[in-house]
């Protein structure tokens, strides 16, 4: 049962990924990305990580792609504004061929791993409480560093935007 769900979810995720690079219209690309992200969220849920599953939907599907769609719609791109991509399919195929060695490496290492049972773990693995305790007891410093980094990026974006405005006024 779990194998079937996993297969369906991964097929949806792969289809979403393909759609994202193949569609010419940016809105459809963004939508394919949402499909891919939600399917990945489903795989997280299968892997006994309910917190990651919810956060994936809240942050990526709920917030980031909404922002992306907002910007795409705000620009209001017409069909003639889109760049012409005559070699699109061949570029994608070449890219895929170039990635084969990496895929081979990854698949090889997967095959070398021992068999692990694919079922939902009990005793609260991946639940919010265990996750939070682990994060704030063993990984506190990296966690705080990342939040500082994000804050710096935020402040940087604000400063950058402000400078642009000033130069326009002059």
């Amino acid at each position: 049962m779990i194998d079937i769900i996993f297969l369906i979810l991964s097929l949806i995720a792969i289809a979403g990924g393909f759609g994202m690079i193949i569609f010419a219209q940016p809105i459809y690309s963004a939508l394919s990305l949402i499909v891919c992200i939600i399917a990945l969220g489903g795989i997280f849920a299968l892997l006994s990580a309910p917190f990651l599953f919810m956060v994936q939907i809240i942050i990526y599907a709920g917030a980031i792609i909404t922002l992306l769609l907002f910007i795409i719609m705000f620009l209001n791109i017409k069909d003639d504004n889109l760049p012409e991509e005559p070699n699109k399919i061949s570029t994608i195929v070449i890219g895929g061929v170039l990635l084969i060695p990496f895929n081979y490496l990854i698949l090889k290492s997967f095959a070398a791993m021992e068999d692990k049972p694919m079922h939902i773990l009990s005793n609260g693995f991946g639940s919010i409480k265990i996750f939070g305790t682990e994060l704030f007891e063993n990984w506190l410093v990296p966690f705080e560093m990342i939040s500082l980094l994000l804050l710096a990026a935020l402040v940087g974006a604000v400063v950058y935007a402000r400078k642009e405005n000033k130069s326009e006024e002059k």
Binding site: I34, P50, V55, A61, A63, F70, M73, I128
Partner: protein, 427 residues
């Protein structure tokens, strides 16, 4: 899977469907009557089936039927047919799914097993709701974009901007309430609110966290796109906003979705801040210990309330023409009221006479709590409707200013103050 498990799962799902879907006609009726009341007119009250008007409630059913049977028209200018059809369904499905994790009563114990009284028994609670609150805006954005119409596109862009701005405040106001409750599970939160503060005040969220409650209610209005935050529709500025090109049941899904979202937001506000299914000063244990007293007082109080209700019906529900079927309605309503009273009093008396088992006690407590929850839900929905017809719509820049410059700083300050309090006084 024994019979008890299966039946409880089915009952929970049916309750969720009733409280979200079947509530829509009632909410539409409430909206129209309240609008009528505020604008000094009567509102719908003539439509009837065999003389039964039910105060105008029948009108909403007629309205729903009209939407279903209308011609499904789609303008030729629409190129993205799939997205155009999909977006009302997204709005409807996401607002409907939000309802799935609201607890209707305390965990029900039957025999040896304990059941969570939610349609979807998971303990992610608030995260689930945040996830689907964020997804619901896609329906509006895509609908606005797929309509291939400038007004619709403007409506979609406005909706996206508004939801992005208010989601931040909503999440932050939830964080401060999470610090107090110490759990993301909605059931745990409601159980926390059953306790008493200093022995005499119910520990409801609105008393512990008034700032967070106000912020959350404001952002809930914005998330459900209801007035005063309905700039996505804004019929005085952008025709009909995102649903300008929609008609028939496609529009109907947007319409139903809006009311389901409103009902879900009310349920969430009730659960987070107004004690959910808890009756003040009577938490689950107290109810179980005093079940006899509660049942006896129900037997005494119900006929008295019904008597005054019947007098109110007699005074207000009159039809001037004598030979119209609608003139007989009051008599029939009174008969039904008396019948319900006799039925309930008799069955309660029988239960008291024969005594009740522990399963019976648990079930009756769950029933009482469910009724309490529905009563609170109706009051909260009434508040939503009252606000819609009292306040005027914000201008677009005012919405953004309110979200980013006022609500967001307040919510961050609230988190700091709450955290300091909890750390200093040990929660």
């Amino acid at each position: 899977m024994d019979i008890a498990t299966v039946s409880i799962v089915i009952i929970n799902i049916v309750i969720a469907i009733i409280l979200s879907l079947a509530f829509v006609p009632i909410l539409v009726w409430m909206e129209r009557r309240v609008a009528g009341f505020i604008q000094d007119r009567l509102g719908p009250n003539r439509c009837h089936i065999g003389g039964m008007r039910l105060g105008g409630l029948v009108q909403s059913f007629a309205d729903m039927l009209k939407l279903v049977f209308k011609e499904d028209y789609r303008p030729d200018s629409i190129k993205e047919k799939l997205l155009f059809t999909l977006s009302p369904a997204i709005v409807f499905a996401t607002s409907f799914l939000t309802f799935m994790v609201i607890p209707f009563s305390d965990d029900l114990t039957i025999g040896a097993k304990t059941y969570m009284m939610q349609a979807l028994p998971i303990d992610l609670g608030i995260l689930w709701i945040l996830a689907f609150a964020g997804l619901s805006v896609y329906g509006i954005i895509l609908g606005g974009w797929a309509s291939n119409n400038k007004y619709s596109l403007l409506g979609g862009v406005r909706a996206a901007a508004q939801v992005i701005s208010y989601e931040a405040t909503m999440g932050l106001s939830i964080i401060s309430i999470l610090i107090v409750y110490g759990s993301v599970n909605l059931g745990d939160m409601v159980r926390f609110q059953g306790e008493l503060l200093w022995g005499f005040i119910p520990a409801w969220g609105v008393i512990l966290q008034p700032v967070s409650a106000i912020l959350f209610i404001i952002t809930a209005f914005a998330e459900t796109n209801r007035a005063p935050f309905d700039i996505a529709e804004g019929e005085s500025e952008i025709v009909g906003g995102f649903h300008t090109e929609y008609s028939a049941m496609r529009f109907g899904l947007f319409f139903v979705g809006e009311y389901v979202a409103m009902s879900a937001a009310s349920a969430l506000i009730v659960t987070l801040f107004f004690g959910g299914y808890q009756i003040p000063w009577l938490n689950t244990e107290a109810l179980k210990d005093n079940i006899q007293t509660v049942l006896i007082s129900t037997i005494v109080i119900m006929p008295i309330i019904s008597f005054f209700f019947a007098r109110w019906i007699k005074r207000n529900n009159v039809w001037p023409v004598k030979d119209d079927p609608r003139a007989k309605e009051t008599g029939r309503l009174l008969k039904v009221l008396i019948f319900i009273n006799v039925l309930i009093v008799l069955s309660l008396a029988l239960i008291l006479a024969f005594g009740i088992s522990s399963n019976g006690v648990n079930i009756s407590v769950a029933l009482i709590q469910f009724i309490t929850f529905v009563a609170k839900l109706i009051v909260m929905n009434f508040f939503f409707i009252l606000v819609r017809w009292t306040l005027v719509r914000f201008r677009y820049d005012q919405v953004q200013d309110l979200g980013w410059k006022i609500l967001l700083p307040i919510s961050i300050a609230n988190i700091f103050v709450t955290a300091i309090f909890v750390v200093a006084f040990g929660g």
